[in-house]
């Protein structure tokens, strides 16, 4: 652009980056070296590698994996079938609308549905299975999480499928591939980027959502996010909370590297 002109727009923007992106992350790192009495120490890191915290980290990853897996299993066919409909953009919009509803309201709805006398139990009784404790179980936690993340997984896969050149599928069919082979060798590899983006969008929040574990899983499930919230807001042990946050950030970076570079920034 104009040769002499300086890039004045950088000033407010870089200030924002320094204050709200760089500084907070450095502060988290800094706090992770202090114990609850405010002494500089490595004991938080030592504590993180004790069985209690390692087990929690492992189960957090396990739940996140389950949630991502089931979301993917349900989302891929949905996205695929959506691309085959007429007015597909409209249908896609309808899929996305629920994701705009406040997450807490959706969680609250499930407190009613999964409650002891709720719709789910009435349905089970009508089926002859009999009432069960559904709320505050692992099942309800995974189910509600999958419900909440579904639209976020559908969208990138839908976009990838939508960008797929149909003549490639025709070519595959003409060359004698069965529908299954076409899917395995042509469609799925070409939409892998969408799948990766979807998994990234689901997996990272699944590690860190704490309100769902509180409302739906009744504190039975403790994710990394729940632990951070617990340390910061309940026990006030910021040092340990910051240490877990450091590991969550590391996990996040690894996941982002694994799932590749994502071009269209979409959400947290």
């Amino acid at each position: 652009m104009g040769t002499k002109s300086r890039n004045y727009y950088l000033i407010p923007y870089v200030l924002w980056i320094a204050l709200f992106v760089v500084a907070p992350i450095l502060l988290v790192l800094y706090y992770s070296f202090f114990n609850i009495e405010g002494h500089f120490t490595l004991e938080n890191y030592k504590k993180f590698f004790t069985p209690v915290y390692l087990k929690m980290t492992f189960s957090s990853f396990w739940y996140a994996f389950l949630i991502t897996f089931f979301t993917f299993i349900i989302a891929y066919p949905t996205a695929y079938l959506l691309t085959k409909t007429k007015h597909k953009q409209l249908w896609l919009l309808l899929i996305i609308v629920p994701s705009w509803i406040n997450l807490l309201l959706k969680a609250y709805a499930f407190i009613g549905i999964f409650g002891t006398y709720g719709a789910a139990n009435k349905f089970l009784e009508a089926m002859g299975v009999g009432g069960k404790q559904i709320l505050f179980t692992d099942f309800s936690f995974v189910f509600v999480s999958v419900y909440i993340f579904l639209p976020f997984m559908i969208l990138p896969i839908f976009n990838a499928l939508n960008d797929l050149n149909p003549s490639l599928i025709d070519a595959s069919n003409d060359l004698g591939a069965s529908p299954l082979t076409t899917f395995k060798r042509v469609i799925f590899p070409l939409t892998l980027d969408g799948v990766k983006a979807g998994c990234q969008i689901v997996f990272i929040p699944a590690l860190s959502l704490f309100m769902l574990t509180r409302l739906i899983a009744g504190n039975r499930v403790i994710t990394l996010g729940t632990a951070i919230e617990q340390h910061f807001l309940v026990t006030q042990d910021w040092g340990m909370g910051a240490t877990i946050a450091v590991f969550l950030i590391i996990a996040m970076v690894i996941i982002m590297l694994l799932t590749g570079k994502r071009k269209s920034g979409m959400l947290r």
Binding site: M1, G2, S5, Y9, L10, P12, W16, F20, V21, P24, I25, V28, Y31, P77, T78, L81, L82, K84, T85, Q89, W91, L92, L93, I95, I96, V97, S99, W100, I101, N102, L104, L105, K106, Y108, A109, I111, G112, I113, G115, Y117, A119, Y147, I148, L150, I201, I204, L207, L209, F210, M211, R214, L215, G225, I228, F232, L248, M252, G265, M266, R268
Partner: protein, 267 residues
């Protein structure tokens, strides 16, 4: 072929039903005079009356709206400046570095943002409350505005700017008469996204809100932790209507803005 088509329609319909059932479940029971979400006893509007008479709740709604509008306006200004900064960056590395830093807050989980902002605000001595919530909302809305505005800037042909400069326009004229009018749809979309981000945010607000100040999401969380109360249902019905209006508004903005499936998904 026909049978296959039917099976796929059933699958899609089932997905739609599951996606919408909980929302309609909430709305349906907001009219229940029975007082719980289990048996529908009779039609009533008392829960709506109740929430409209609850001054504390109305103040919280007002707070939420003020924070959303202010943070969206300020983050739009910052975001447009940010997009222009990235656009004008001469070196490719600078551009990429800025973009990566921009995206940090978009991919970071809410707990991390919340916890780190909590440390940050306590460290520099900002009292937790309205100001801290507002600052946090501005901070996490800026990158999304940048991402909405930047593609518009990149779409713009540079010859337009050179033409304006050749014809004697000052840098300020170029900005206000050439660039800004061109990127207006992006700015609107950015403002809109910032607004919905702020209205919807729970986790970050929860960390930095302190005791005296509350937004709607935080209030719903503390109510829901106490169990079922149909006031929340009435509230959610109203919020659902409001969300629908926002979606329709956003749909028309992005429709003008070309590719509709580029819309950001919310969480």
């Amino acid at each position: 072929m026909n049978k296959k088509f039917k099976l796929s329609s059933i699958y899609l319909v089932a997905i739609f039903l599951i996606l919408y059932a909980p929302i309609f479940y909430l709305v349906f029971y907001s009219f229940n005079s029975g007082g719980d979400m289990y048996g529908f006893e009779g039609f009533t509007l008392e829960w709506y009356k109740e929430i409209f008479q609850d001054t504390r709740l109305l103040i919280i709604v007002l707070n939420t709206i003020i924070v959303a509008l202010l943070s969206a306006a300020i983050s739009t200004l910052l975001g447009v400046a940010g997009a222009l900064a990235i656009y004008y960056a001469r070196k490719r590395q600078t551009k990429n570095a800025l973009l990566s830093l921009n995206n940090v807050l978009i991919v970071s989980p809410d707990v991390i943002i919340g916890a780190s902002f909590l440390i940050f605000f306590t460290m520099i001595g900002i009292k937790l409350g309205f100001i801290s919530v507002l600052l946090a909302h501005i901070a996490f809305s800026v990158p999304i505005v940048v991402l909405m505005v930047l593609p518009k800037l990149e779409e713009m042909s540079t010859s337009m700017i050179y033409a304006a400069l050749d014809l004697g326009a000052s840098r300020f004229d170029v900005l206000t008469k050439v660039i800004l009018p061109f990127i207006t749809p992006g700015i609107f979309a950015g403002f809109f996204m910032a607004l919905t981000y702020s209205l919807d945010d729970f986790a970050v607000t929860f960390f930095v809100t302190g005791n005296g100040f509350s937004t709607l999401s935080v209030e719903i969380y503390s109510l829901a932790r106490q169990g079922v109360s149909l006031g929340i249902n009435a509230l959610s019905a109203l919020l659902f209507l409001f969300t629908l209006l926002l979606v329709i508004g956003y749909y028309f903005i992005t429709k003008k803005n070309d590719r509709p499936n580029r819309m950001g998904v919310r969480q």
